[in-house]
């Protein structure tokens, strides 16, 4: 029971963090059809900007400045780089973001070194929110989760309840029609890209204070964010939230479970045979926990490429 509760809590907060990063990615894909390989780099950039700013002006300043800086970076990338290669097709856009991801990572290494930096939450946030079964549960995990929930509510409200949201959704569905109606679609694209990047930057600023901040953090999260976006459905915000929670919960549960195909076969009396075969059959769930998301992604892509909540196209 203790394991279940702790794992659920950790899984939900981790899932919400994943959602913060993937929300921008899925928005950008839904609108421009660009699979942004640099998105996780924006997340890392957010953490490092927040670290640099917070070491001088304090934690909260970092939290505010990071999304702004990263958002502006995103807008510049869209306006001056992506738009230029747009004529050459989606492959080139994808390759460009891919190159950008490399550049951002190497620049971070240039300025901050190829090792983790000491980006920490302030001491007054370092307390336990409550304790479960004698274990103190850190408040900051709840803080990460709350940031994501607030962000989701704001984003959802913005997209569905405001005039801006209507324009954005129109630009997503039928860009040329929306443009014909007099809306400045290139600006909308630039702003959406910037907003998506800013969200990733905010996620980085918040999460970097809790998880290690190092030049690999973008790469580590990058692939899993792709999984989330694909499983949820490319372009679907609700799908991303659902998929983030599924992946988050799954990864926090899987590390503590030693189930394997062999142990299931034990129940029907085939365990001995499975153990003699070894290999895949005796792998424990905990050791393949990094594999399952990719298997899930593969299955979704092959069976239902639109994802859990995406629209079929």
């Amino acid at each position: 029971m203790e394991f279940a509760i702790i794992s659920t809590l950790n899984g939900v907060t981790y899932g919400l963090l994943l959602f913060m990063v993937s929300a921008g990615l899925t928005l950008i894909f839904g609108m421009m059809g660009v699979l942004n390989f640099a998105h996780a780099s924006f997340y890392m950039l957010g953490a490092y900007v927040a670290y640099a700013v917070s070491s001088i002006f304090g934690f909260w300043a970092g939290l505010i400045v990071a999304p702004i800086v990263v958002g502006l970076t995103g807008m510049v990338v869209e306006r001056y780089l992506l738009r230029r290669v747009h004529a050459h097709g989606h492959a080139h856009e994808l390759l460009l973001t891919f190159g950008l991801a490399m550049i951002i990572e190497e620049m971070i290494k240039l300025f901050f070194g190829d090792f983790p930096v000491n980006y920490q939450m302030p001491d007054y946030l370092r307390f336990s929110a409550f304790s479960v079964y004698g274990t103190d549960y850190p408040f900051f995990r709840l803080f990460i989760g709350a940031t994501a929930v607030v962000m989701f509510a704001l984003l959802w409200g913005l997209l569905t309840r405001t005039r801006t949201g209507i324009v954005v959704r129109a630009a997503e569905r039928l860009p040329s029609m929306a443009e014909a109606l007099g809306h400045n679609i290139p600006i909308v694209f630039m702003c959406v890209f910037g907003a998506g990047a800013a969200l990733a930057g905010l996620a980085g600023a918040v999460a970097g204070a809790f998880y290690p901040t190092n030049p690999n953090m973008g790469l580590e999260l990058g692939v899993i964010v792709f999984v989330v976006v694909v499983v949820g459905g490319l372009g679907s915000l609700k799908g991303s939230l659902l998929a983030s929670l599924i992946i988050g919960l799954f990864s926090s549960f899987a590390v503590g479970l030693d189930w394997s195909v062999a142990s299931i076969l034990d129940l029907v009396g085939l365990g001995g045979w499975a153990h003699s075969i070894g290999g895949l059959l005796t792998l424990e769930l905990s050791s393949v926990s990094a594999t399952i998301p990719f298997a899930l992604m593969l299955i979704v892509l092959l069976v239902r490429p639109a994802g859990l909540m995406g629209e079929r196209n």
């Binding site: 290669v85 097709g89 994808l94 390759l95 460009l96 490399m102 992604m297």
Partner: protein, 432 residues
């Protein structure tokens, strides 16, 4: 005429590759082996990405499979199996083919971005699973073996490995080139350009794409096998996204629309890594920068630029172009040096060594040495140098760009040139 010239050029390259290496040092011989392997890898990758227009982000999977299959065969040879050492890459080819058939069957069910994602998922699946499979992949440390002698050849020296690699790479390149001449090779291009039409003509596009995928994976497997023979070891890192990324970079910088484009990319990147990685720790940064610049300003890659000039060799007004080209080169040189200067300065000023000096200097900013000169971070000269370099270079480039474009425009476009990006039309992001 043109084909005759190409033939002579290729014969010359082959002769150099055959004759020169014995006179080179060990480091260069090793570098050449790596260049050959990278070239084959990029060519095999480009069969799928450039020629068939299917952008794969997970070709490390087949490279790694080829390497591991070969190592297992090498282990069997060590235990007394009478398999000739020079034929070891056949194991890599077989592994690449089989895994490629399975992965290709599933991946080619999707197209565009979704295809890229499926290939990515396959590679990541292998990358995350293989460290846990002790028997087949040797866990995290991987597996190692030794090259066994065969018919008096002991395969002990790098030179012997080099000639073995050269033989296999040349054979593979020949086959890959012959492939483009077959009806199926033409079909490959047709699938890239208009898949619907191919289907309408009565071809089974899915089967065709699966076969192309498998052939590409097979030659990738050969490249992996050669790597395994050269290194005598392999671990799960071979499946990593870095390997997949590298081949994408090399291919597109070299030029995916031209047959030998990927070779250009592979050779330049491998040489770049070999030469520059000793000089500076920021070489990966420069590599990324080069890639993005090529994507922005020469979408057809270095090979595309070369081809464009080769095609207009006779009719272009070279005397008129010489001056603006020289100015452009000068401008690029100036901007380039400014970028290098700034990058290296940042690397020094934010490095660990400098931060120690800074602490010892107590408040003052100590000077540092770079490019054989000493600089002070608070002196205006330090920051004026890159500013002037970049400024002058940028103005030059900006001015000369219009001139060059106007000159080419005045000459008109060559008839045979295709400005179409390889997979521009394909990656419209549909799950069809």
């Amino acid at each position: 005429m043109a084909s005759m010239r190409n033939l002579i050029l290729m014969a010359a390259v082959l002769a150099v590759l055959l004759i020169v290496p014995p006179f080179l040092g060990l480091g260069w011989q090793n570098a050449l082996v790596n260049i050959l392997i990278a070239s084959l890898f990029a060519l095999a990758f480009n069969l799928l990405s450039g020629q068939a227009g299917l952008l794969s982000f997970g070709h490390a999977a087949y490279f790694g499979m080829g390497a591991f299959a070969t190592l297992h065969l090498m282990l069997a040879v060590e235990d007394g199996l009478g398999f000739p050492t020079p034929l070891l890459p056949l194991a890599g080819a077989l592994a690449g083919l089989v895994v490629g058939l399975v992965a290709g069957y599933f991946s080619t069910m999707r197209s565009g971005v979704y295809f890229a994602l499926v290939t990515l998922a396959f590679a990541e699946l292998f990358h995350s699973l293989t460290p846990h499979l002790q028997g087949l992949f040797g866990g995290e440390s991987g597996i190692s073996s030794m090259r066994m002698p065969w018919q008096g050849i002991i395969f002990g020296s790098v030179l012997e490995v080099y000639y073995l690699t050269l033989g296999w790479v040349m054979l593979s390149i020949l086959v890959l080139w012959a492939y483009t001449r077959t009806p199926f090779g033409r079909l490959t291009l047709a699938i890239r350009d208009n898949e619907q039409r191919v289907r309408f003509l009565g071809y089974n596009a899915h089967t065709a794409k699966m076969v192309i995928f498998a052939i590409s994976a097979m030659f990738t497997g050969v490249a992996g096998a050669l790597q395994a023979i050269s290194n005598e070891t392999a671990n799960y890192a071979l499946f990593g996204s870095q390997i997949s990324a590298q081949v994408v970079l090399q291919t597109f910088v070299g030029g995916a629309t031209i047959f030998f484009g990927p070779v250009v990319g592979a050779v330049s990147f491998t040489l770049f890594a070999y030469l520059v990685s000793d000089l500076t720790r920021s070489w990966l940064f420069y590599q990324g920068l080069i890639f993005v610049l090529v994507m922005l300003y020469a979408p057809a890659g270095i090979g595309g630029v070369v081809q464009h000039h080769m095609r207009s060799l006779r009719r272009a007004d070279w005397t008129g172009l010489a001056k603006p080209y020289a100015l452009a080169a000068l401008g690029a040189l100036l901007v380039g040096s400014a970028v290098i200067y700034l990058t290296e300065t940042v690397a020094v000023l934010f490095g660990e060594e400098y931060s120690v000096n800074l602490r010892n200097a107590a408040g003052a900013y100590p000077g540092y040495h770079l490019f054989g000169l000493s600089w002070s971070p608070v002196s205006p000269l330090t920051w004026l140098v890159p500013l002037v370099l970049a400024g002058v270079g940028a103005v030059l480039l900006f001015k000369v760009r219009g001139t060059i474009a106007a000159k080419w425009e005045a000459m008109g476009r060559p008839e045979t040139e295709s400005t179409k990006a390889p997979d521009a039309a394909k990656l419209k992001g549909g799950a069809a």
